[in-house]
Subunit: 127 residues, 2 copies
């Protein structure tokens, strides 16, 4: 009996640690409720967009006002190309929207989520 039980436990265990130190009950319970791998990858990609100072600054200034590329570049004291590249990233992740007016393109935040997430982040770091 003792031996059978041990055998089964080892069958479940993956060889990730060199030795057996797994709390089976916890692991199997959490495995059940784990979202699909792809969803967590998407979530990481979403937050990755916030994880860059330039993009954070862009999002912040856009939370104050709609703005064209050149305005943003001037505000952040950065090149137009750098800003344009980052706006593309923000666009792809649907964090900003834009409208064209002649030669100028005005960008703005896509929705209220963005400001809300920024605010929560601020709360955390100011604790």
């Amino acid at each position: 009996m003792e031996q059978d039980s041990k055998k089964n436990i080892q069958d479940y265990e993956i060889d990730q640690c060199d030795f057996i130190c797994v709390h089976e009950n916890v692991v199997s319970q959490v495995l059940k409720v784990m979202p699909q791998d792809q969803e967590l990858l998407d979530l990481a990609d979403f937050f990755k967009v916030f994880g860059d100072a330039t993009r954070i600054k862009i999002l912040y200034v856009l939370s104050q006002s709609e703005m064209c590329v050149c305005d943003i570049a001037n505000l952040l004291k950065m090149g137009q190309s750098a800003i344009s590249h980052q706006l593309r990233v923000l666009k792809q992740m649907r964090l900003v929207k834009f409208r064209r007016e002649g030669k100028t393109v005005f960008y703005s935040l896509a929705d209220g989520h963005i400001e809300s997430i920024l605010a929560q982040g601020m709360e955390h770091i100011n604790e």
Copy 2:
């Protein structure tokens, strides 16, 4: 008069765009309310921690239950060292806390903010 005005405008403008395309009123207004540069850098660093699939997964499993390093490694099918390295990052950003029990170290989420931010991210990507 006309000339003086133009001169002043150029004084304000930074040479970020090749040509003058700045909306001065917007730019100067937003400049007033911009947080300190360091605060936005910290905010980016904070979100950077969420911008990695491994760390997102760790945060997710810890949102379900306190867990030891080996448990996490098994759940994510990754090496113990990789998990340990990432837990250090999470620890430094005060996203997880830990308690020692003999040889084992149990990690858990530092506070409720974390789950809240994860949930908001999920909302956005599931739209």
